[in-house]
Symmetry: C2
C-alpha cells in the first residue's frame, strides 16, 4: 500500500480526549475514529491488524474442534426474561421497541441464543461435545466508556460456548480452549498471563482471565512472589493476618467524642486497626445490608455480591443508613435490629474488638463474636492486597500488577441449559442438562492492549505478527531519477516475497516521514534515498532498535525478509507467516 493513497491521516498533535497511550496512539496513527462515546470506526490500517488477529483466532478455534457460526445482535427480550438476565444487565442492555411494538434488545453476549440453538439441535449424548464460536459484534451501554477501544459500547468479540455430557468432559474441553487461547496470544506476540478470576454468583467452579500487563490496565492482579499463583484482586485467596486473641473481657461502653474513622478511634483508644470492627453499609438490590469486617481489612464487593447472590450492589446512602436506625460513624452490630448483618470471617480471628455503640460519640470495647452479636452470614468477603500472604502456598507475599483483561474462560455448568431446556439423553436413556462452558476474547480490546503494551514515546511498536504491514518503506526524494525507480522496484520485489509493505511515497520531508514511521510502528523500516544509493545500499532499522544499518541494494530483499523473520521470532518464537 502506498501511504499517499492510504485512507486515514496521521495527526501531529495528541488528541485532547485521549486518556491512555493506546487511545492516543490509535487516534494519532489513524487506526480508529470515534463517532459517539465508546463507538468507533476501524480505519484501514487498524482493520489490517484486526484481521490478522481474527485469522489467528479462527485457526486456533478450528484446531480446537470449534465450529464457527454467527448469531444475531437483535434479540427478543423474552429470551432474556427467561434467564433473568434482563434484570442482571440492567441499563447496560440496549432495549427498544420495533415498529410492531415488540421489545427487542441488542445482545451483550450470546448464551441465551446459543443454548436455544443447542436445545433444538442436540438430543443425544452422541451429538456431544459441541464447541461453537463466532466473531461478532456485541453491544453494551457502558456507564463509562473509556480509553479508546478498551471499554466501548459496540465491539467485536470472539465468543465460544461448549456443551458437554459431564464435568469431566467439560474439564477436557476447558483445557483444550485454554490451550487454544495460549496459542492465540503467543502467535499474536502478546504474552497474556492467565490469572484466576471470579466466577460470579452464577458460576461454576473454574474461571480464568488472560491479562496483558500494562500500567493503564483497569484490573489489579495479585501474584505470589513465592509460588507464582496469580489472581484477579477480586478473586485472590489470601491468609488473613492474625490479631490478638486474648480471653474475652466484659463488654464496656466508652465515650469517643468526634472519633468516627477506624484510624481515629484506634488512635484514641490506643489499639491497632486489627483490634477494631468496621461497619460498612451496602444496598443489595435496594435493601440495606450491614457488613462487619475487621478494621484492618477492606470489603471485596465481588465476594460480597456473590455471597448475597444479588444483582445490584452499591454503597448505601447516608439517608438509607439513618433510615435503618443506624448512627453513621458509631453504628454497631450489637443490638442491631431489622437489618441483615453479614460478617467477614476475620471477625472470628481475634477478640475484644472495639466496635460502634450505635450512639453518637460512643463505642464499645471488648466486643466479641458470637458472644455479643450474631450475623446472618459469616464468610470471606475481604479484599486481598499487595503484601498479603498467598493462601495457595501459605508463604509468599502478593505483589500487585495492573493488567488489561483480553480473554476469559469460564465453566458455566447447567445454569443456562436448565433455564432454556437444553438437555440430552445419556447412554442409559436418562434426560440430563447439558454442561456448558463459555470463552471470550475481545478482539478490538486485544488490539488496543497490544498497543498499550508495545509503544514508546514516539509511537506504536507492533509485535510483528499483528503489525498492519511488516515493512515501512520510506522513499526520500522520489523525483530523483535514481531513487524513484529503485524504490518502486524494491516495493514490488518485497511484496513478491509475500511481505506486507507500506510505501511512504508522499512528497514530505524526511522528518515527517521518519516521525510517521515511528508513529505507525511497523517492525522494520527500510529507507531508499540518494544517500543510500550513493553506496548502492538501502537502510534497515528495526522499530525496537535505535541503530540503523545499511545493506547492499542487491541483498536488500533477502535482508529485509530475514529482519522481518527475526522480529517475528522475537515476538513469537517463529518466523513471519
Amino acid at each position: 500500500m502506498r501511504l499517499s493513497q492510504l485512507f486515514g491521516k496521521t495527526l501531529r498533535q495528541d488528541p485532547a480526549e485521549a486518556e491512555t497511550a493506546s487511545h492516543r496512539l490509535m487516534l494519532r496513527a489513524g487506526l480508529i475514529h470515534p463517532i459517539a462515546a465508546g463507538v468507533y470506526s476501524m480505519l484501514p490500517l487498524g482493520l489490517r491488524s484486526y484481521r490478522k488477529i481474527e485469522r489467528v483466532i479462527r485457526e486456533e478455534m478450528d484446531a480446537a474442534g470449534g465450529q464457527e457460526l454467527s448469531m444475531p445482535a437483535l434479540q427478543p427480550i423474552e429470551l432474556w426474561q427467561q434467564t433473568g438476565r434482563h434484570g442482571a444487565f440492567g441499563q447496560t442492555l440496549f432495549t427498544f421497541q420495533d415498529r410492531k411494538e415488540r421489545l427487542l434488545c441488542l445482545a451483550p453476549t450470546h448464551e441465551e441464543v446459543v443454548t436455544t440453538l443447542v436445545s433444538l439441535n442436540v438430543q443425544s449424548y452422541r451429538d456431544l461435545p459441541q464447541l461453537l464460536y463466532q466473531i461478532q459484534t456485541k453491544f453494551r451501554d457502558e456507564q463509562r466508556p473509556r480509553a479508546g477501544l478498551i471499554r466501548v459500547r459496540e465491539f467485536a468479540m470472539k465468543d465460544a460456548y461448549s456443551f458437554d455430557v459431564d464435568a469431566d468432559a467439560l474439564d477436557a474441553t476447558y483445557r483444550r480452549v485454554f490451550q487454544a487461547y495460549k496459542n492465540i496470544f503467543a502467535r499474536c506476540g502478546l504474552p497474556a498471563v492467565p490469572v484466576e478470576a471470579d466466577s460470579g454468583a452464577i458460576g461454576g467452579k473454574d474461571s480464568q482471565e488472560f491479562m496483558l500487563l500494562a500500567e493503564s490496565g483497569e484490573d489489579e492482579i495479585l501474584r505470589c512472589s513465592g509460588c507464582g499463583y496469580a489472581a484477579n484482586v477480586e478473586r485472590a485467596a489470601f491468609v488473613k493476618p492474625p490479631a490478638p486473641n486474648d480471653a474475652e473481657r466484659p463488654l464496656e461502653k466508652v465515650a469517643t467524642p468526634g472519633k468516627k474513622t477506624i484510624e481515629e478511634v484506634a488512635a484514641f483508644l490506643g489499639v491497632k486497626p486489627e483490634q477494631t470492627l468496621k461497619a460498612v453499609f451496602h444496598a443489595a438490590d435496594g435493601k440495606v445490608v450491614f457488613v462487619v469486617i475487621r478494621g484492618d481489612l477492606e470489603v471485596n464487593e465481588v465476594k460480597l455480591r456473590n455471597a448475597l447472590k444479588c444483582a445490584d450492589l452499591r454503597l448505601a446512602t447516608d439517608e438509607e443508613v439513618r433510615g435503618a436506625g443506624l448512627v453513621a460513624g458509631y453504628a454497631s452490630p450489637i443490638g442491631v435490629k431489622g437489618v441483615r448483618v453479614v460478617g467477614d470471617d476475620s471477625i472470628a480471628l481475634g477478640a475484644n474488638f472495639v466496635a460502634g455503640a450505635n450512639l453518637d460519640g460512643h463505642h464499645y470495647k471488648n466486643a466479641n463474636y458470637p458472644r455479643d452479636f450474631t450475623v446472618a452470614l459469616l464468610t470471606d468477603i475481604a479484599k486481598a492486597r499487595a503484601g498479603d500472604t498467598c493462601a495457595r502456598c501459605g508463604k509468599g507475599a502478593f505483589e500487585s500488577m495492573r493488567g488489561i483483561e483480553v480473554g476469559h474462560v469460564f465453566k458455566l455448568g447447567t445454569i443456562f441449559s436448565e433455564k432454556l431446556g437444553a438437555s440430552f439423553l445419556d447412554k442409559d436413556g436418562q434426560k440430563k442438562p447439558i454442561i456448558m462452558g463459555c470463552y471470550g476474547i475481545g478482539v478490538g480490546r486485544l488490539l488496543a492492549a497490544a498497543v498499550e503494551q508495545n509503544h514508546d514515546e514516539k509511537g506504536i511498536m507492533w509485535p510483528a505478527p499483528i503489525a498492519p504491514y511488516h515493512v515501512h518503506m520510506v522513499g526520500l526524494q522520489l523525483d530523483n531519477p535514481q531513487v524513484g525507480p529503485a524504490a518502486e522496484k524494491l516495493y514490488v520485489d518485497l511484496q513478491a516475497t509475500g511481505l506486507d509493505v507500506l510505501f511512504d511515497d508522499r512528497a514530505e520531508s524526511p522528518g515527517v516521514k521518519f516521525n510517521d514511521a515511528d508513529l505507525l510502528g511497523m517492525p522494520l523500516r527500510v529507507t531508499v534515498s540518494p544517500r543510500t544509493l550513493k553506496t548502492q545500499s538501502v537502510e534497515l532499522k528495526r522499530r525496537s532498535e535505535a541503530q540503523a544499518r545499511n545493506v547492499p541494494l542487491a541483498e536488500a530483499v533477502a535482508a529485509v525478509r530475514q529482519a522481518v523473520d527475526e522480529a517475528s521470532r522475537a515476538a513469537t518464537g517463529r518466523p513471519a507467516a
Copy 2:
C-alpha cells in the same frame, strides 16, 4: 468435517413458515435458524458458504483499489438529521435512547458516517480518489420481513463508497466497481444480470442493479427482445402506444350511471381504454395529489415519487379523496380546485378523451389537454409492461422476468458531501464538493438467491465455488472391516489435496444418507460401501446429474479432484481454487 459432529440437524419435513424454495431449503438443510421475524443465526454449514462469498468479494474489491474499513452500527441520530434521512427512513430506522437519554439509531446504511470520515481525512485533490468498503451488519426494521434471508431485519452487507474529484473520475470508478461486481458474481458461479435501475429522488444519473433471475424474485425486470436492454420495471423506458388523435371536438357531458371503472365506461360509451383518462389519487407526504394518466396505462409509483420529490407516497384513502371535494369514480381534472394535478405525458398523446365530470353518474366526452384542463406537472409517470415497445431501440418488445436484487451500483453525486461538508481543494485551490458513488451487495441475500436459483425438488444444488464443501462423502456400513478403513483413508487423502470434504459417518440408512446428500447439495457425492469395494471402486455422482459412475479406488482421489474441477468450471469457467 464429519457429519456426525456437524452442528445443525437436517429436517425431514418442510417447515410450515417457509415461503420460498431458498427459505424452505436453508431451514431444512440446517444453514440458518430464526430467532425473531427477519432475524437469523447462520449455522456452520451456511456460514462456510457465506465466508467463501465474502472472500471473493474482498479479493475483487481490493483488486479494484478498495480499502476495507469497518464502521459502527450505533450512530447518533444527529448525523441522520443532518442529511434529512432520519425522516426518509421513517420506521425502518431502529431508534432508541441510551442510558444518558441520547437518541441513537442502528445504521441501515453508512453514507453519513463514511462521508464524515472522508470530510476529516481528505483535504486536497491529491487525497482522491478513494474507494472505501466494509462487510458489516445492517439493521432495518422492515415492515414485512420475508422469504428467509431475502428480506431480513439484520443482515451483512458489503457496502462501498467512492470519492472522486469530478464526474469523469466517478465514471471511471463506477466502471471499475461495476467490473468488480461482474467478477464477484461470475467467480461465485452466479450469473447476475445488470439492469438499469431507478436512481431515486436524490440520485445522480446512473444506477444499475444486479439481478439473479428466479421465479420467486421480488423484482420485475423488463428485457427488450430486440436490443437486449434490461431494466427494473420501475425504470424501464418504453414507447407509449399511440391513440386516435383526431381534431378536437366540443366538450360534452354524458350520463354514465353506475359506470365507474375505465373498462365499464369505455364499454358503455363504445371507446377504447386509450381514449379515456384515468384519475388516480395519491397522498404525497400527506397531501392529496390528483394523477391523470391515459386509461390504458398504469401509474409507476417510483417515477411519481421522483417527480414529486416526496419522501412518503401512498394511495389516498376514500376519505382523503372526498375531503378534497372529489367524487370517486367520476373525479375530473376539469375544473378541479385546491388539489395538485399531475399528468402523465400520455394525456397529450391522443385527443377527445372520456374523463370524469366530478358529478355522480356522469363523464365528459372530448376532454382535451390543455384546452380543458391544466396540470402542475406533465411528465412520464407510466409503468412499462411486458409487450411494450422498448424506448432504447424503438423496435423490440419487452419480455417480463422476475429477479432477486443482489447488488446495486449507484452514482450519488454531491448530495451527501454537500450536506456533510466533504470537500477538497482542486489544483487551482478552489474548494469543491467531493463526487460520490455507492455500491452494495447483500451477502446473506446473495446466498439465499444462489439457493433460489440452484435447487431441485430434492434439495440445494450449490454452484461449486460457494458450496460449503466440495465433496459429500457417504460411507455405508462403516462398521464393515473393509469399508471403515477405506472410507477413513479416502477422507484424509481427499482433504490432503485441498478439497473441502463433508463425511457422512453417521449410523444411518443409505436412504437417509442419500436424501441428506441431495438436500445439502454439495457438487459431488462420493460413496464408499461394501458393494463398491467388492470391485475395488467408489461411486461418484454429480449433484446436477442423475447418473452415478464407479471409479477404481486407486484413482478415486484424482477422479474426485477432476470432477470437482469440472463442476467448478461448469459454474465459473475455471477449476476449483
